[in-house]
Amino acid sequence: MSSLADLTLAEASAGLRGGELSARELLEATFDRAALTEAELHAYLTIDHENARAAAAAADEAQANGLSMGPLHGIPVAIKDNMVTAGLQTTAGSQILAGYVPPYDATAVTALKSAGAIIVGKTNLDEFAMGSSTENSGYGPSANPWDTTRVPGGSSGGSAAAVAAGSAMIALGSDTGGSIRQPASLCGVVGMKPTYGLVSRYGLIAFASSLDQIGPISRTVEDAASTLEVIAGHDPLDATSYRGEYPRYRSLLGEGVSGLRVGVVGELSGAGIHPEVLSAFRSAVDSLAEGGAIVSEVSLPSMEYALSAYYLIAPAECSANLARFDGVRYGLRIDGATVEEMTARTRAAGFGPEVTRRILLGTYALSAGYYDAFYGQAQKVRTLVIQDFTRAYEGVDVLVSPTSPITAFELGSRTEDPLSMYLVDVCTIPSNLAGTPGISVPVGVDNAGLPIGFQIMAPALGEEVLFQVAAEVERASAWNNRRPPVVEADHGV
């Protein structure tokens, strides 16, 4: 018999509403799964047993009293530890914030709580979301549930690993260059980056403000869409928050893809992609064609330059955003004779190697004499990337590519060479530069049994068609909510 921890959000919601299961039972099954897997996975930095149990008890009581139930009533969710949670330690994976307890909730967290979700805890990440493996966490790496000698991807690796392992039913991640989609791909779950501005960034500890976006990680496409319906919405506390209509994102699920125009991005689905990844990708494209989609190959020439532009723009923005960690108002302080000495010592002690590298890279790219050659030029390339997408979407409804050029790699195998780590994000970065939505859906495994993700991209505010195509890819792939080996111990004979 399988555990309640393996239910999807849709199944658990039906069970809770029908009275066949309680929020408390569901939460305890989630805690049990965490107890079984955390020693190996380290998906969580903090598990909030006490408040989660109180919230689950309150949810059951509200239901018993006939009070109205929110759309995520009783659902155990995990939050990436770069979103602030009132009264619950938030570190962003950095030693500079060790012990920091925020005085308020991020807007996305408030939305989850208001919808009835139970916050299980805070998940591990690359420090300040800078990385593709969680190995840059200041608190040790997480492991991949499919093979614990391998990385779960990153930076939202803890969230993806928790959802794959069943120690959370859904999770929030943040995506600046692929940090939701890439770990979802490596962990065999669904990860979705919404259009820039759909989910408030208020309370998301900023990495690169023009690229950062919060989104859901889940086991099914439907669950991702349901979660987005809860967390998307205008927020006056985020000046870049979208002010238009927010539709029901599940509206086109199950409609199929007949007549939809699907463009395969040539630059992202050939050279540099592992043959086994490419083969699974091609099969999924074929299944879309069999489903009636009109498939064509599309060329976006600026894609080759997107990665380079990203590794100037993101560090430039991070160097400005992380100036706030100065040892004055919160977090770590290492004493010094002057404010400047104190700040410089604090930052040297508190930031890990990758964050230090990126701050220095960004500082350099913005410094006098180099601004035009690097940052200014990167901003122009960003314009060309946006123009390429705009042109492509005149002829197709969605674009597709593999999510990651490779499957989960071994822990420690890429940490010595920062550039080799950056190249892992080549397929996901363009959507961040353009502010457009993207989703990764599992479509198969390689010869080593490691998950392979399929990426779908859509124009700005194209979430409904994005989920529509994603649901068809999911259905045709017969992935069928496959579970990783690490949870097998919980499925006793």
């Binding site: 308020y104 023009s210 002057t338 400047e340 104190m342 230090t356 050659a373 990167a378 502010g435």
Partner: protein, 96 residues
Amino acid sequence: MAIDIDIAYVARLARIDLSDEELERIGRQLGGILEHAALVQQLPTEGVEPTSHPLPMVNAFRPDRVVPPLERDTALAQAPQAEDGYFRVPPTLEAE
């Protein structure tokens, strides 16, 4: 193209106090990364406007409603050092 960086100067600008070995190592790594990043200079961009933000947005106004600010004690609760309702820091200038 080898890119030479005055890494000690950049670290000073960024207010990060690094040892000579760290500076040497990071300087070398950044040289490699910048070589790759310099690809952006190969694309012809004459007449292309820079993009600083993905979506066209101007003047995001909100109602000017007065709400209570964070309580002073709450704001100071996470401070490494606080005194008499203020954040306490070392002197800005070195003593003569």
